[in-house]
């Protein structure tokens, strides 16, 4: 398990890995929004929480099809499935590695980029907290989607279509947390919902993803 995690992390940061891609995409989105929307700081701070969450979500989506596709193409997925690792554990480790290389850096970079969008200072800690709570769910749901489409050539399109609707609840409660913090309301309810979604996906989806891989390898 640990060996697999270290291998995935090493592959992600080496050339051709997905590590820089998501971060660069997130950076580009948040830098470009002020150019598109205009320099009015009032409007920018109004949309900041939503834009940051949507940006993080799309950045996360970008690297999803690498989770299993590369292993499938070079044959190592067959070998991993026949190795003495429980497939559910393998899926969970893959999702964790994906989170460490996308969700975590996005969370850490979000407050820096929030400055560009003139997010209200009251929202900064809640932005980090909500992303830290919500991005594991994005990685886990994405891993499930990647497992469903693993045998398909150019499965990226289908993967995004499958995963996007599943991302909606996370997005709603994540962005809501930041918005409520900025408006000075209590953030407990959306945060609890966000935590519930994350814990639920982590508890259930490894099994669903493992079943999908078994079927796709037939």
């Amino acid at each position: 398990m640990k060996a697999l995690l270290l291998r995935d992390l090493a592959l992600a940061v080496k050339a051709g890995g997905g590590f820089g891609l998501s971060l660069a995409f997130f950076l580009i989105v948040t830098v470009l929004i002020p150019f598109g929307v205009g320099p009015d700081t009032g409007i920018l701070s109004e949309v900041a929480s939503g834009v940051l969450w949507v940006g993080a979500l799309l950045a996360c989506l970008l690297s999803l099809d690498r989770i299993f596709q590369l292993d499938f193409e070079d044959g190592s997925l067959d070998l991993l499935v026949t190795a003495p690792l429980p497939l559910e554990g393998l899926v969970a480790v893959k999702a964790f590695a994906h989170w460490l290389t996308t969700g975590l850096p996005l969370t850490l970079m979000a407050p820096v980029l929030a400055v560009l969008l003139n997010l209200d200072p009251a929202g900064f800690p809640w932005l980090v907290v909500s992303l830290a709570l919500g991005t594991p769910a994005l990685s886990m749901i994405g891993t499930f989607g990647a497992a469903l489409t693993v045998g398909l050539k150019r499965g990226g399109l289908l993967l995004s279509l499958l995963v996007l609707p599943l991302y909606v609840p996370t997005l709603i409660f994540g962005a809501e947390t930041v918005r409520r913090a900025v408006d000075g309301f209590d953030t407990t309810t959306p945060l609890l919902m966000l935590a519930g979604i994350t814990l639920g996906t982590i508890a259930l989806l490894p099994f669903a993803a493992a079943a999908a891989i078994r079927i796709n390898l037939r």
Partner: protein, 205 residues
């Protein structure tokens, strides 16, 4: 310990390709599968390795004793030879990768990235992986592809060594390896074309 295959039928792409395959493999024995392309050698090996469920019949083997090597070597291009091999050694809980490196003369290549290796060198690394699994039953699909004559001989030696240590090997190959092995011709087991293609509407065929 024994690998016993009884009356096995397996399917590929929704069609049954082989029916009623039965054989047994005891310690120190090897079986070589023969048959024309498309007869179902790979499908049979994948079914025995547990990558797909059999249509009928059963595969009896003690748990956690098979190691599978398919057409692809499962190497990661950006990682070095040592990193690739020691990853699998860690997965299988084997401490030492030195014997495998030595046997396949991979010593001078240890710090090369797998993507810089030639096809034959990649294959040697893929076969060296079998050494670090520590599993008694080896299931090998076309193991000698892209190996030169000298390395085919090396591979034959590795198999002989494995068998004399009480291991077993089940291979699909077209090449004479110079080892004592039973040959199993799959042609008699070819499934008769079904009258109608059933269950084609099943999801995830």
């Amino acid at each position: 310990m024994e690998l016993r295959v009884e009356n096995l039928s397996c399917q590929r792409g929704g069609l049954t390709v082989l029916e009623g395959v039965s054989f047994a493999l005891g310690p120190g024995e090897a079986v070589v599968l023969r048959g024309p392309n498309g007869i179902g050698k790979t499908t049979l090996l994948r079914t025995i390795a547990g990558l797909q469920p059999p249509v009928a019949g059963q595969v009896e083997a003690p748990e956690d004793c098979m190691a599978y090597a398919g057409h692809a070597d499962g190497l990661k291009g950006p990682l070095t030879v040592t990193q690739n091999l020691s990853f699998w050694a860690q997965v299988y809980g084997v401490a030492d990768i030195a014997p495998a490196l030595e046997l396949y003369a991979l010593g001078p290549l240890v710090d090369r990235q797998a993507q810089d290796l030639s096809a034959g060198q990649k294959r040697r690394l893929g076969l060296a992986r079998m050494m670090v699994t520590g599993r008694p039953i080896w299931i090998l699909d076309e193991p000698t592809v892209s190996l030169d004559a000298a390395n085919v001989a090396l591979f034959g030696e590795m198999i002989s060594g494995h068998l004399s240590a009480g291991g077993m090997a089940l291979m699909a190959t077209h090449i004479e390896l110079g080892i004592e092995a039973r040959t199993l011709d799959l042609a008699p087991y070819k499934a008769v074309a079904p009258a109608e293609e059933t269950e084609l509407d099943e999801a995830f065929l």
